[in-house]
């Protein structure tokens, strides 16, 4: 409710995502082929960099008003707090993708409509893994004064499999390759999502203790 009321957080994150895409576009130059080849990687990096800002904000509401302790003392299992934060962050990242994907289509001239439809499934899978880990590490970093720096340092090395699988699968689908090229990466994404979602739910109770 507070996020919907202020909107400042989402606007800033979406603007950063678009800005990163623009910077990639400028760095790659006007070569259409180079732009198309880099589209998936640039898109995923924009989502990852901008999404980290969202994770940093996910405990900010509680930290601003010292409301984390009361939240932990409601008579409910603590994994439900993780579930709430995870779903809110997933919605946030999916909305971010709604903004940055059209920009990527225009900027990188990836006009294959047929490729974008299955690619949206890959984006959902990649987002689930990304958000599960991001929400978990944000809870670990939330009590640190250096959380803005700490979170990317903890998170990005762990995200390499997601980044690799997501960008490779998205790239293969946008290039019009048959599904078998993307299939192995999709399986990796599914495995990553399952492992880190389960691990995050199980471990959350121990990392969130005040």
């Amino acid at each position: 409710m507070t996020e919907r009321r202020s909107k400042a957080g989402f606007n800033a994150v979406a603007f950063l995502g678009v800005l990163i895409l623009l910077l990639f576009g400028f760095a790659l130059g006007p070569d259409t082929e180079a732009l198309r080849n880099a589209a998936a990687g640039a898109l995923w990096l924009a989502i990852l960099f901008a999404g980290v800002l969202a994770f940093n904000r996910s405990y900010q509401l509680e930290l601003d008003g010292a409301a984390l302790e009361p939240l932990l003392l409601y008579p409910a299992p603590r994994w439900t707090i993780f579930a709430g934060k995870f779903l809110a962050n997933l919605l946030f990242v999916l909305l971010l993708e709604v903004v940055v994907v059209p920009v990527a289509i225009i900027l990188f001239q990836v006009t294959s409509v047929a490729g974008w439809i299955p690619a949206s499934g890959v984006m959902l899978l990649g987002s689930i893994g990304f958000v599960a880990l991001g929400t978990f590490y944000a809870s670990m970093a939330s009590r640190s004064r250096a959380r803005e720096v700490l979170l990317p340092l903890l998170l990005f090395p762990m995200l390499i499999p997601v980044l690799l699988a997501s960008s490779e699968a998205t790239s293969a689908l946008l290039a019009g390759n048959p599904m078998q090229d993307a299939g192995a990466w999709v399986k990796l994404l599914v495995a990553f999502d399952v492992i880190f979602l389960v691990a995050s739910f199980l471990a959350f109770d121990h990392v969130i203790e005040v």
């Binding site: 409710m1 509401l61 010292a66 932990l72 409601y74 008579p75 409910a76 005040v210």
Partner: protein, 210 residues
Amino acid sequence: MRGVTLELEPGEIVGIVGHNGSGKSTLLRVVSTALRPSAGEGWVHGQHLVRDAIEVRRHIGFMAHAPGLYEDLTATENLQFAARMFGIAESGIEAAIDRVGLAQSRNERVRGFSAGMQRRLALARLILGTPSLLLLDEPYNNFDPQGIELVNEVIEDARRGGGSALVVLHDRRQGERVLDRVIELGRGVVIGTSPGSRPLTLVSTVGLPH
């Protein structure tokens, strides 16, 4: 804390005093289930503090040193959130807000509240759940004389209903009207008790009565 044993009878109000760092707030947070004890055990109404933490939380009302509110929500919205998290009807919200004297500000955002108003709203959240064990960490801070009277009324109401309270204080004189006895902590151990219903013994558990 080392070797602190404590029992509260129904209707008993116990003050905990001590210097900064003496373990007063830690004791309260262990009993509230916010902190897991590294040794020792405790029970609230027969429920174990660690094994039955969710059940314990149904019986306790914890008011921390900080009010722990969502600053971008209104007073009513903060209590609606608390009611949903406690799984109780929202019908008592209006009465709770009226009781703490915030009727005029019920639809204002907490961000604009003074420290005293925020404490009053935290008190409203406390009485909303009608807990049988109040855990109050320096409850008189930031209150004007009327607010201090309100805190005492809430404690007395709990006593009349057969509830108990643990009240952390810097100065025992603050709560002399409502306290049945006082425990003095120093560096995590009991260093003194006031004349009261029973003396404290030093053993290696933190216990509350079944």
